[in-house]
């Protein structure tokens, strides 16, 4: 046994030595949530354009990446943070972990759709854009004889019951933006009504953004609410999937930023410059990446059917997205969705199914009482425990900041909201079942 521990100690000793040997100049360390299919082409192109610099890509999901940068700030070894979700950059910026830098680039407009491309204070910059939409598996849709959806509201129709998937907004920055877009576009009450009617049809609410395209690609779920490049790159890899942008969609930039106290600041800035240069923007057009460049001139080199938000005014132009409104209630919206939908999905689905059944019966045999009951049931499902003002109030926001301020604890609020939703879903189900009896 002693011998073994000596051997282990020796191993650890040599490990310390060999591990310390790497530390070369000209290395740019990038923490990113992007997959190899995205990072590899950029790495190759960047290293070719900047001889002497090498790109070291550390792949982490967005949340883990943010935690990593935060935990290691005392002795930071990371130069660049590179990810989709703008709110992750807001978190990093808020914690003082980013460094101001405005990439040298020409011809990049202020806004894409209605969303500003760069952080107004230049802490982070957009390098590509993406919009949310509906992706579906064509074989699945044909086998189940399901129509092609065009808009968010279509997904609330009874035919799609149990056929739709989405990532939880608390887990996916881009889904969060979609939810927020609907809430801002339709108003708080109507927005939640739409969201819950749609969510009542969900088969799953995944905890990873990529879980949705994966489920649609493999045909386990028919329809998914996804960010466009997941659909485009799935098509490029040959999966039988289709995609549509609904009328209400935001086009949001994917971003890149220099980390505060970056060990290789010059290299980091060179990488940012490259990403927004025409050469870097063209890399986005590769089939495995397929994101929308932020430089309008680059679209001239894109394939014919490539969506162009600078020309196609339907993309993202209809919504006015207010970042300030969104920021104040980020946590509240996420937790509200989780507590009233994600963790109550079964009860919500039971109520939704009962309402669908009752409405189908009423369509065949009209009955005023039954109609009134169904309306009550729908209102019960749509009810929210807090209104718009409360959601962005400092009291509620304070509950989600952990140990900093006194006040309501997150767990207390969550239990209240969950109980509120569950009770109403059960009442709604009972009313809809009653309506079904009347209309029969």
């Amino acid at each position: 046994m002693l011998r073994h521990s000596v051997a282990a100690a020796a191993l650890i000793g040599t490990a310390l030595f060999t591990g310390a040997a790497f530390a070369q100049s000209g290395k740019v360390t990038v923490v990113t949530s992007f997959s190899k299919d995205v990072t590899d082409p950029f790495k190759q192109a960047f290293e070719k354009a900047n001889p002497g610099l090498t790109l070291d890509v550390q792949n982490r999901n967005t949340n883990a990446g943010v935690k990593f940068v935060e935990e290691t700030k005392a002795n930071n070894q990371v130069d660049v943070f590179w990810a989709s979700a703008p709110d992750a950059f807001e978190v990093l910026k808020g914690k003082g972990l980013l460094q101001k830098y405005k990439p040298k680039a020409e011809g990049i407009p202020e806004k894409i759709g209605s969303y500003p491309i760069n952080d107004p204070e230049n802490f982070y910059s957009g390098f590509a854009a993406s919009g949310y939409g509906i992706m579906w598996n064509d074989r699945y849709a044909k086998a189940n004889k399901l129509p092609e959806p065009k808009d968010w509201q279509d997904l609330a129709k009874p035919v799609y019951f149990d056929h739709v998937a989405m990532a939880a907004p608390s887990r996916s920055g881009t889904t969060h933006l979609t939810i927020e877009t609907v809430l801002q576009g339709e108003g708080w009450d109507q927005g939640w009504r739409t969201l819950k009617e749609m969510s009542g049809n969900f088969r799953q609410i995944t905890e990873r953004s990529f879980g949705v395209p994966e489920a649609v690609n493999s045909g386990q779920v028919g329809f998914g609410i996804v960010i466009d490049f997941f659909a485009f790159s799935s098509q490029a890899s040959g999966f039988p999937v289709k995609f549509v942008y609904p009328t209400v969609t935001t086009i949001v930039p994917a971003n890149v930023a220099v980390i505060a106290n970056a060990p290789n600041k010059a290299g980091a800035e060179a990488f940012l410059d490259y990403l927004v240069s025409p050469a870097g923007q063209e890399v986005l057009l590769e089939p495995s990446i397929r994101r929308l460049p932020v430089n309008p001139a680059v679209y001239a080199k894109a394939p014919a059917e490539y969506p162009n938000p600078f020309k196609d005014s339907s993309l993202g132009a209809r919504v006015k997205f207010d970042v300030n409104v969104s920021e104040k209630r980020t946590n509240a919206v996420d937790v509200l969705y989780d507590q009233t939908v994600t963790f109550q999905l079964e009860t919500l689905k039971a109520a939704t199914k009962a309402i669908h059944d009752a409405e189908a019966a009423i369509a065949k045999k009209d009955n005023a009482d039954a109609k009134a009951l169904v309306k009550e049931a729908r209102d019960l499902v749509a009810a929210m425990p807090v209104n718009e003002q409360q959601a962005s109030s400092p009291e509620i926001a304070g509950a989600f900041t952990g140990g900093k301020e006194k006040g309501a604890r997150q767990a207390e609020l969550e239990q209240q909201w969950a109980a509120f939703a569950k009770e109403r879903y059960q009442q709604a189900q009972a009313k809809a079942e009653q309506a079904l009896k009347l209309a029969r």
Partner: protein, 580 residues
């Protein structure tokens, strides 16, 4: 039998062992216990403590409080999650036993061609590469998987294999039954043939012999495996999340700990609950074994007598074994198909086959394979060394507080990998090496995290192995003048060899595909293990095939190592049988 210990025989009675003798064994044991305690405190208790202390602090003031635990008890979701986790874990043990018992019994008790191959194959489910394993499983058993598409086509119905809690039980049982298989097989091999013969002489045979003599004697192995399955399922977050079951405890902890902007203590409260439940389960299993003596003195027999089967018996046996193997290996068959598939979408089988995925990963997989082998084997060695030492201290000494070593090591099972990862970053990132690189950036930290996370597996195996050895053998050695150290090395370790090897293989194999802590600690591609490479691929539609190919490589790699160690066990068994 002595053939198993080869190293160091020549210079055994050296000056150092005399020195130990003079001091009597006690100080040595204390030093050993202290050493292990320091290791566990440094690499487990402190890093985890820096993260989960939040569970005990009051919001706003940061003072000590238990109000968060009251919140836990008052939240419907958590209570529901708690009972769901409990139910799923208990049922998984039952289903896993159904898979494991026949395999273990048939392969150790009968002359069965391919027993070693079956032991190896039966071990494979434990090596389920992250992400791809689940995708493969869904493609086969999912709502629109191969099986259900066929069923729907032919009979017009579908079986919800993968839905809700039952889906979790099914997948967990398939995934973790090797824990029972491997520990039970090791225990069965260790049973003294004389016991069985005595029972036969007294007229017992068949199922009665198994129920009254063989199974009770193998109990330590079964309990070791079953308690591991229970705790592991209770603490596992990957499978429920992949099946989109969120109302279980471990997924709840994970979802809270990893969400941005939600800095509330509940995630850590749940972690504390998980840790307590794991320790409780281990304590209960220790109590169940208490007051019973499973040790046998005679160890020369080479395990149970293997007998020939009659033709109809062997037909049934082969049928049962094949059926179980087909079921539990389905995910790997799916994985293999996936790695050769061009497109596999809403169809029973892939559209076409290609070798392109392998050629894509071939170049870059070498560094991943090398890292994985290095990390997993060092972690495995650390684990069996610690596991043997802890088992020895708990079972053979009267040191006060020795159980705490066991419980602390076991608690590692309940700590979400991401919590351990963050803890390591917090504790070791500030520590700098002379050239300015942080300590946490070294790959050895990944190894230590893996070793800590897999220590409970090796510990249980070593513990069970030691339980089966009679103290009187050691006493005899000491009476003959052997020192404690010499007794341990020449008597105990050889007798425990099978169990230790089982522990090593389990730790090694599961460390080879671990991801959650690794993902936090990997600092550069050159230091990344296979599981990380796989993760990087599995984030894009085009990466599914290459990811599956890497998964197949990982599984093959670990399978080869497992097969090799089974060969070693078998050889040493034969040597034992021949030597006496």
């Amino acid at each position: 039998m002595a053939g198993a210990t080869t190293a160091g025989r020549t210079h055994a009675p050296s000056a150092s062992s005399k020195y130990f003798k003079k001091l009597s064994a006690k100080p040595g044991q204390i030093a050993l216990a202290l050493g292990i305690a320091v290791f566990l405190i440094l690499f487990l208790v402190v890093p985890v403590g820096t993260v989960i202390y939040v569970a005990f602090t009051e919001k706003g003031t940061g003072e000590f409080t238990l109000v968060n635990f009251l919140d836990f008890a008052q939240t419907d979701l958590f209570i529901r999650s708690f009972w769901n986790s409990f139910y799923v874990s208990a049922m998984s043990v039952v289903v896993a036993s159904v898979f494991a018992l026949p395999l273990a019994y048939i392969t150790t008790r009968f002359e069965f061609r391919g027993a070693m191959l079956i032991q190896t194959l039966g071990f494979l489910p434990l090596i389920m590469p992250p992400f791809v394993g689940a995708v493969a499983m869904l493609l086969l058993f999912g709502r629109n998987g191969t099986v259900n598409l066929f069923l729907d086509d032919w009979f017009g119905f579908k079986i919800p294999f993968m839905e809700g809690l039952n889906g979790v039980i099914f997948v967990q049982a398939v995934h973790y039954f090797p824990f029972i298989l491997i520990n039970l097989s090791a225990a069965l091999r260790n049973i003294d043939r004389a016991m069985e013969e005595a029972a036969q002489n007294l007229g017992s045979s068949g199922f009665r012999l198994f129920r009254r003599i063989v199974f009770p004697l193998a109990m330590p192995g079964y309990i070791a495996g079953a308690s591991l399955v229970f705790v592991k399922v209770f603490d596992d977050l990957a499978t429920p999340l992949l099946l989109n079951v969120k109302d279980m405890l471990a997924p709840q902890a994970y979802l809270r700990v990893t969400s941005i902007g939600i800095a509330d203590p509940m995630g850590y409260v749940i972690s504390v609950v998980l840790i307590c439940m794991s320790i409780l389960a281990m304590w209960i299993s220790a109590q169940a074994m208490r007051g019973k003596d499973y040790a046998t003195v005679q160890r020369g027999g080479g395990g149970l007598a293997k007998r020939q089967m009659r033709p109809w018996e062997s037909a049934i046996a082969y049928g049962a074994v094949l059926l179980i193997l087909l079921l539990v290996l389905a995910p790997h068959i799916g994985l293999l198909l996936l790695s050769f598939a061009t497109i596999w979408s809403f169809s029973p089988l892939p559209d076409a086959y290609t070798l392109a995925h392998y050629s894509r990963v071939f170049g870059e997989s070498f560094v991943y394979v090398k890292n994985t082998m290095v990390y997993a084997s060092i972690a495995g060695v650390i684990d069996v060394v610690l596991g043997t030492a802890i088992a020895y201290l708990v079972l053979r000494t009267k040191l006060i507080g020795r159980e705490w070593l066991d419980w602390a090591a076991t608690a590692a099972l309940a700590i979400p990998g991401v919590v351990l990862g963050i803890g390591y970053l917090r504790t070791f990132y500030g520590v700098q090496l002379p050239d300015g690189t942080p300590l946490a950036a070294l790959w050895i930290m990944i190894v230590l995290a893996l070793a800590i996370r897999r220590l409970p597996y090796a510990l249980r195996a070593c513990y069970a192995a030691l339980q089966q050895i009679s103290v009187s053998l050691e006493e005899a050695a000491e009476n003959l003048g052997a020192t404690k150290v010499r007794t341990v090395r020449r008597i105990m370790l050889p007798l425990m060899a099978g169990g230790i090897l089982a522990g090593f293989v389990t730790s090694f194999a599961t460390a080879a595909v671990e991801l959650s802590a690794t993902l936090m600690l990997v600092q550069s591609n050159a230091d990344a293990p296979l599981a990380y490479g796989l993760y990087v691929f599995m984030q894009s539609p085009a990466g599914r095939g290459p990811g599956a190919a890497l998964g197949v490589i990982a599984v093959l790699l670990v399978a080869l190592c497992t097969f090799a160690s089974h060969l070693i066990i078998e050889k040493s068994q034969k040597a034992k049988a021949a030597g006496h």
